[in-house]
Structures are given as structure tokens and as C-alpha cells.
């Protein structure tokens, strides 16, 4: 049953299985286990980033395509929902139409970029995606009448997803309100999208992508039109990123170029893929969870450590919360050094591995 749900792609390592179960239970029960605005917000971000990172891995790890336009597709999904909600009012119809329009637009743009550039060498595709993504970023900033420019847009989401909507008293001390519903909408959709991607990479289509990544000449010689497969992967990955973007907009009730379109976000996604492990969808779970937690809590841990080491020379200064980016950077350097195949790659190859 679980094997079917996971498309036969089991974690294949005891430690990895344990980690994944902990993350799954943590996310599934987050509002009850870690009540509090901030922790639930972190859990929602983790769920969304798992989908976003996995969709990028579909492209990078499975199809071997380097793209810098992934945040653009994420942003298209987010703006799709935001603009539709603004134009049509805060109804579910607007959410549905905006989400589908965002995913459709993202797939269509990916199709055009793919058909124009996937025939040529990989580096051209990377450059073209960079150019298109920058152009869209500038466009969103400039079209302030429509997009709110640099300030972004605050959006009104359906009332059922806001804290004002209540549907009962409390359960285990947690208020049953729209925010809880919003969290489970995010979690549930992310889970479905994740399982869908697991199915895709373990299907004959996914196997063919791996073959194309490894030896495109050979894949052609046994009858697979390489450009068509690469383009299909690009479109799929773009559409899923847009769906993640739509979830993000609904969760934050805000879209802005810094939040959903920035180059920093693109680099973050790349790091999450590399840390988790390229070419395995499970890597996205580990990479996104570690990264988002570090981003949200490292500063706090450092503040605590800095206070604890008061009196020791130099240490409190080094551990000052303002220096959190330095430590985050160090953590990444170390993780790439010790886990060149990503954490999942290391765990699967490690001595703790289950015999296959």
C-alpha cells in the first residue's frame, strides 16, 4: 500500500526513513505539535518549498537541464492567483481560475523557451532562462499599476482561509479557524503534488528522462525524441512550480518581486536541491526542511548561544545573531564537502544502508 503510494521509490536507508517519517509527522501535525504563528508559518513554508525544490530537481536532477527561470514560474503562479483574486474578488472560483491560469501560463512559457533553446547546447538554455527571468522581474517591478511594483500586492483570500472564520471551538488547545484550514490546504496540496512527482520520476517517462540526461545521442538512437522529452520535463516542472507559487501567495496573502521572483530565491532553491541530493525527489524533503528551519531559527539559536557564552572572549561576537548568514554559509560549505551527493545520496550509499 505504502509502496504503491510512493511509486515503489522507497527511501532505502533506515536513517533516511526515520528522518522522513519525523518530517512527515511534524508537518502533518504542526499546528498541534508546535502551536504558534511562527512555527506553523515555518511548517507551511517547508511544505511549499518541498514542492518547489522537488519540481526543480525534476528538471536539474532527472532531465539534466540547468534553468534559472524556476522562481519566475513560481512567481507566475503566485501572481496568477493574486491578480485573479484582485480582479474577481475573494472567491474560490478566483482561486481555481488563478491557479490554473498561472500553471497554464508557466507551462506555455516553458514550452516556448524549451522549443527555442533545448535543441542547442545546455548552456544556451541556462542563459536564455536567466535572460527571460530577469526580463520578467523587471516587467513586474515596472508594471506597478497591475502588480503593485516593488511593493507587491496584499491580497484578499477566501474568507474560509482567514483566522476570522471559525468552525468550532478548540481541539487540543488549538483554535479551529480558517488559518488552520489554510495550513491543511497547503499541506494537503503539497503532499499530493509531491506524490505526483514521485510517480512521474518512477514512470517510464522518468526513466527516459534519466536516459536522455545520461546519453542523449543514444536515447535518440533507440527512438526517443530528446527535445520533446526535455521540453515536456520543462513544462511539467514549470507548471508544478507555479502551483507551489499559488499556494505560497494564498498562505502569505501577499505577493511581491522580492518574495517570489528574486535571484536569491533561485539560489536558495539550487542550494536546497544540492544539499538534499540531486536526482532524488526525497532529497527535496530533506533539503527544504533543513534550509527553511536554518533560515528561520538560526538567528535565534545564535542569539541564545551568544548570550550563553558571554564573558568568553571573541565567541559572543562571532555568534552574534547579525552574523547568521556567515554561519549559514559555513553550514552549506560543510554539507557540500561532506555530502557531495547530497544528504540522501550519502545516506543511501552509507554503511547504515539497508541491504537491497
Amino acid at each position: 500500500m505504502i509502496g504503491t503510494l510512493l511509486s515503489g521509490d522507497l527511501p532505502r536507508s533506515r536513517i533516511l526513513t526515520a528522518l522522513l517519517v519525523v518530517i512527515f509527522l511534524g508537518l502533518a501535525l504542526a499546528p498541534f505539535l508546535f502551536p504558534g504563528v511562527r512555527s506553523v508559518d515555518t511548517a507551511a513554508r517547508i511544505s511549499i518549498f518541498i514542492v518547489l525544490v522537488a519540481s526543480y530537481d525534476l528538471l536539474l536532477g532527472y532531465a539534466g537541464i540547468v534553468s534559472f527561470a524556476h522562481t519566475m514560474f513560481f512567481g507566475i503562479g503566485a501572481y496568477g492567483v493574486a491578480l485573479t483574486l484582485q480582479a474577481m474578488g475573494r472567491g474560490w472560483d478566483a482561486v481555481l481560475i488563478g491557479t490554473l491560469a498561472g500553471a497554464g501560463t508557466a507551462a506555455a512559457i516553458a514550452l516556448v523557451i524549451g522549443l527555442f533553446s533545448l535543441r542547442v547546447r545546455a548552456i544556451f538554455f541556462a542563459m536564455i532562462t536567466l535572460a527571460v527571468a530577469s526580463a520578467v522581474g523587471v516587467l513586474v517591478s515596472q508594471l506597478s499599476g497591475l502588480t503593485g511594483g516593488e511593493d507587491g500586492l496584499n491580497i484578499q483570500i477566501p474568507r474560509e482561509l482567514t483566522p476570522a472564520f471559525k468552525f468550532g471551538g478548540e481541539l487540543w488547545g488549538v483554535k479551529l479557524n480558517g488559518k488552520l484550514l489554510a495550513y491543511y490546504l497547503v499541506f494537503g496540496t503539497a503532499l499530493v503534488l509531491f506524490l505526483l512527482m514521485l510517480r512521474i520520476v518512477n514512470s517510464p517517462f522518468g526513466r527516459t528522462l534519466l536516459a536522455v540526461r545520461e546519453n542523449d545521442f543514444r536515447a535518440e538512437a533507440i527512438g526517443y525524441p530528446v527535445v520533446r522529452y526535455r521540453t515536456a520535463a520543462t513544462c511539467l516542472s514549470a507548471a508544478i512550480a507555479a502551483l507551489a507559487g499559488a499556494l505560497y501567495a494564498l498562505w502569505l496573502r501577499y505577493v511581491g518581486p522580492e518574495t517570489v521572483l528574486s535571484m536569491e530565491l533561485m539560489i536558495d532553491i539550487l542550494l536546497m536541491v544540492v544539499i538534499g541530493g540531486m536526482g532524488t525527489i526525497w532529497g527535496a524533503v530533506i533539503g527544504a526542511t533543513l534550509f527553511v528551519i536554518a533560515q528561520n531559527y538560526l538567528q535565534e539559536v545564535m542569539g541564545w548561544a551568544s548570550a550563553a557564552t558571554e564573558g568568553v572572549p571573541l565567541l559572543p561576537n562571532l555568534l552574534d545573531p547579525d552574523r547568521w548568514l556567515l554561519w549559514l554559509g559555513l553550514l552549506f560549505v560543510l554539507s557540500v564537502y561532506f555530502f557531495p551527493a547530497g544528504i540522501v545520496g550519502r545516506l543511501r550509499a552509507g554503511k547504515w544502508n539497508d541491504p537491497k
Binding site: R207, R218, G223, Y224
Partner: protein, 241 residues
């Protein structure tokens, strides 16, 4: 040589500024093994790659079973039933042996009876069926490469130096498997430097030099005439006697 499965007429292929094929003409008869022979660097591999559409012919035409395939894309040529085993083997190292085989079948399914025949010819493939193809030895990779071409009935097999760099015992296994394929009535065009293997398997021979075909005829004619071999291919094949 009536009713050929494949015919090349005046095929010219350039790679960068080099004119590799300079008017190649020959035919491959149906249901027989044709050996493409010649010294290193005369254009044998380029000929196979041009047939597959990896390299585009600048001039001339390639006809497969009555259809002009000169300008067709590679995947279309493969789907018409041409199985190609390249010199470099080109197995997918990250996939399992099974996945490599399934990818090679257009239907996505392997016929069990056919699979049993493949396992009989290449026992190691059965042993490592679920293992990653990248962990196979060189000889086993070559077996997989040929087995992949045999995953389905092909109308024509193009096989590039199947015994290159293999240990003698594996060469024998390979030759046995190719012989079985021949006995099933397959049409094969094969490049082979090992003249003992070429002689044992070939019905016809095409000899190339300098991007052209300099001789073609039956293998029996070539085998029976030492002087002809000497003239066509120099000393390189004498060791095969």
C-alpha cells in the same frame, strides 16, 4: 543482391571541415549479414552514424526498405525498426539492466520468450537484471548493448565493432549470440575488425577505403582470395587467417 533492405547511393558526409564519406555506394541484402570492412579511419563508423541520422549526409540518398530516410530524424529511423549498437556501447549507467532493456522496446514491454533467448545468449544479464548497468564489466556492458538491440524484432541491425577490446572468451559468447541472431534470419550490417569473426558470420562484404567503397561481393569470394584481401585491406587482416 535483389531486394535490398538498405541502400546507399553517393553518400557524402562532412564532419566539421573534414570530408569523411566521399560518395559511398552499397546495398545491404535482406536476411543476411553484411560486413563493412576496412582499415581504421576509412569511414565505417561514420557510415553507420550517417544511416542513423546522427550525422547528416551532405549529398546522396539512403533508402531503407523502399523509404528515403536521408533526412529523417534519428528517433524516427529507430522507430522504423533499425537497431543500432554503437562502438561506444552507450548503455545508461544510472539505470538498471532491466530498465535499459525496457527503454529499448518501443512498446515498453519485453516479450518473455525473447527475453529467455537473450538470457540464454548472455547469462550475466540475468544475474545482474536488477543491478545498475554502470556496475557491469566491459564485456557485460557490450552484451547489454547488443541485447538492447535485440529487445524487439528489428528490420535491420547496425552493429559497430561488437568484439572490440573484449577477452577471447567473451568474443566467443558475442559471436555465438550474433550467429543465433543471423540464424533467425535477421538483416545485419556490421563493422568488424576481427577477421575471424567477420569470416564466420558474414555472407557479404563491403570494403571501404578513404571514404569510398572499393570492393563489394560475397564473403566467400573475399575469404577465398588471399591476394584480394592483401590488396584491399593490407596486412591488418592477415592475422585473422
Amino acid at each position: 543482391m535483389s531486394d535490398p533492405i538498405l541502400s546507399l547511393e553517393g553518400v557524402y558526409t562532412d564532419i566539421a571541415q573534414y570530408h569523411i564519406l566521399q560518395g559511398v555506394d552499397f546495398t545491404v541484402p535482406r536476411g543476411a549479414v553484411t560486413m563493412l570492412l576496412g582499415r581504421n579511419g576509412v569511414g565505417k563508423t561514420t557510415t553507420l552514424r550517417t544511416i542513423m541520422g546522427h550525422w547528416r549526409a551532405r549529398a546522396g540518398s539512403i533508402t531503407f526498405d523502399g523509404i528515403d530516410i536521408t533526412r529523417l530524424p534519428t528517433p524516427a529511423i529507430a522507430r522504423m525498426g533499425v537497431g543500432y549498437v554503437p562502438e561506444t556501447m552507450g548503455i545508461f549507467a544510472d539505470l538498471t539492466v532491466e530498465e535499459n532493456m525496457i527503454l529499448a522496446a518501443a512498446s515498453g514491454r519485453l516479450d518473455p520468450a525473447r527475453l529467455e533467448r537473450i538470457f540464454a545468449a548472455f547469462p550475466p544479464l540475468k544475474t545482474f537484471w536488477k543491478g545498475q548497468a554502470g556496475t557491469l564489466s566491459g564485456g557485460q556492458k557490450q552484451m547489454l548493448s547488443i541485447a538492447r538491440a535485440m529487445a524487439e524484432d528489428r528490420r535491420l541491425y547496425l552493429i559497430d565493432e561488437p568484439t572490440k577490446g573484449l577477452a577471447p572468451a567473451i568474443v566467443a559468447t558475442m559471436a555465438g549470440a550474433l550467429k543465433a541472431l543471423k540464424n533467425e534470419g535477421a538483416s545485419i550490417l556490421m563493422v568488424e575488425q576481427n577477421f575471424a569473426v567477420a569470416r564466420a558470420l558474414g555472407d557479404f562484404a563491403v570494403v571501404m577505403d578513404d571514404g569510398r567503397v572499393i570492393w563489394s561481393g560475397t564473403m566467400a569470394e573475399l575469404v577465398g582470395d588471399g591476394l584480394l584481401q592483401e590488396r584491399l585491406m593490407g596486412l591488418s587482416l592477415a592475422a585473422g587467417h
